[in-house]
Amino acid sequence: MRLASRLLRAVVSLWLIVTFVFLALRLTGDPIVATLNPDDMTRDMMESYRKLWGFEGTVGEQYMVYVTNVLRGNFGKSILNGRDAFEVVLERLPATLQLIGSAALVMVLIGVPVGTLAALKAGSKWDAAIMSFSTLGFAIPNFFFGLLLILVFSVTLHWLPTGGTGTIWHLLMPVVTIGVAKAAVFTRFVRSAMLDALKLQCVTSAKARGLSGARVLIRHVFPNALVPLATILPLLVGGMISAAAVVEAVFAWPGIGRLIVESVAQRNLAIVQVIIMLVAAVMIVTNLLVDLIYSWLDPRAAAAAAN
């Protein structure tokens, strides 16, 4: 029952996004002029496209055609080369997933141990130093951090390629740029989640029963810290997508982030609308997942919400 209502909400959110994109496209003026280059084609060609994409008749009719097309995966064609916009975006997906996936790994590998250390030694010099580094990592702009890495490791030391793709060495700098920046944020969340979990009665009682420190940490502290950490998953996914848009441009990484930046500069609206809908879909699914994970991790909260 709860799952059904969640699914319904996700579908409604998706439908709202599609409607927003449709309205925004209508507000830009003639969508045919906006998505195609009118200098390159005759009036007849534009009329045939108008018919093909359903930009005829009243706004209501156009909306119906638009929604049907979206449901069929037909988002129009790239103005650059006339290729199917959805295909162009799908092609770029693996590169971005590789980048974000590796960066997420770096984030977790740094964030979990470092955040745990800060929480266990709360108030100490270790804690203060870790929090200071976290503030530094938050304040440095992604694009500048990336350029500094290029300056040091490519321009000065000639160790790594400045950009592009192909080998694992190409992946290294973009992954570090995103992973370290996100680790700075994630460490803070891990620290505060761990601090809250350390205060729980079950942890005190486990210690009192004489369980070893490591056992208390793994069996009692970590599982409880997972609950608040799960709720920030959408925030992290959104942050990764934002960072990818900027960092892919810095390192000429052939993913979706660079595609959207290029497409915006060219005003290639067919591509841009596919990407915004894809990102929205990813965020909606992530939120749905978090709801499910949350009720699985913490049945008490789920029961409270159901009542």
Partner: protein
């Protein structure tokens, strides 16, 4: 007034060193921006092809151009000051817009409740879950780039934080004695909110602004870096880094100088914000 000043003075004495340094840096930036016209530095658009790509002082440069020159021989310090003005002013205006918008919506949601509340809370959730830079890029693609639109977009960033906070605090204040007293005396709601509730939540809103402000700088400079924010001939710290990027080999300072400036400005505001939050939570 006197009490406020002495309290302020006592607070500066207890300030950690990092906060003092952050304040000094921000004051330096603001005075550079404010007094740029009277400083003995070249005009920012003066070309000097005889003095192209000069390094900063300390890396072989002369005192004529403290932070070096760019590929057209323009003084980087002069361009930096002009860019700082753009970036700081934009972030300040945008933060004020988002604070005003968010606080108003939050108070309205708390006051009216019902479907108004649900609508505002829904909008807060939607805004919080979308990666804002992607939304910004989409709006720019649809409507083109202009300074006014850019400011409005930046102003829409982060309003949900202010809304969430003011909604929660307004709801909490309703049961408080002073609000009940005011209600009993027959004051109008808007007067109670404006004159009594708002001053009570002002410090928390200010701390939220110190989180929003650096993030707005990062958003603006990122977009300007990508060439989709502030456009030439206007300069922002972000598009300076963007242009400097093409000269990493021959003039690294062209991108490092503005980059470090962004970093120090966001860092300074974050450090001050962290400290202010800890002071407020102690009270």
């Amino acid at each position: 007034m006197y009490a406020v000043m002495t309290a302020g003075w006592r607070a500066t004495k207890k300030m950690p060193l990092s906060v003092k340094i952050a304040l000094v840096w921000l004051l330096l930036c603001l005075s550079l921006v404010g007094f740029a016209a009277w400083l003995p530095i070249p005009e920012k658009n003066t070309l000097n092809l005889m003095a192209r790509l000069l390094p900063p002082v300390g890396w072989g440069g002369g005192l004529d151009h403290l932070l070096g020159t760019d590929e057209l021989g323009r003084d980087i310090l002069a361009r930096l000051i002009s860019s700082m003005r753009t970036s700081l002013l934009l972030a300040l205006c945008a933060t004020m817009i988002s604070a005003a918008l968010g606080t108003t919506l939050g108070i309205l949601a708390a006051h009216f409740g019902g479907w108004v509340d649900e609508l505002v809370v829904g909008a807060i959730d939607a805004q919080a879950s979308l990666p804002f830079i992607i939304v910004t890029l989409t709006i720019t693609a649809f409507f083109g780039s202009s300074l006014m639109l850019f400011l409005i977009i930046l102003g829409l960033y982060g309003w949900e934080r202010f809304a969430r906070l003011s909604r929660a605090m307004t709801l909490a204040s309703r049961g408080r004695g002073y609000v009940l007293a005011m209600q009993t005396l027959g004051f109008s709601w808007w007067r109670i909110y404006l004159r009594h509730v708002l001053p009570n939540i002002a410090s928390a809103l200010l701390v939220t602004a110190t989180i929003n402000f650096p993030e707005t700088i990062l958003l603006e400079t990122s977009l300007s870096f990508l060439g989709l924010g502030i456009q030439p001939p206007n300069t922002s710290l972000g598009n300076m880094v963007g242009f400097g990027r093409n000269y990493l080999l021959t003039g690294w300072w062209m991108c490092v100088v503005p980059g470090v400036t962004i970093f120090l400005c966001t860092l300074a505001v974050s450090v001050i914000g962290d400290w202010a939050r800890s002071v407020i939570s102690r009270h």
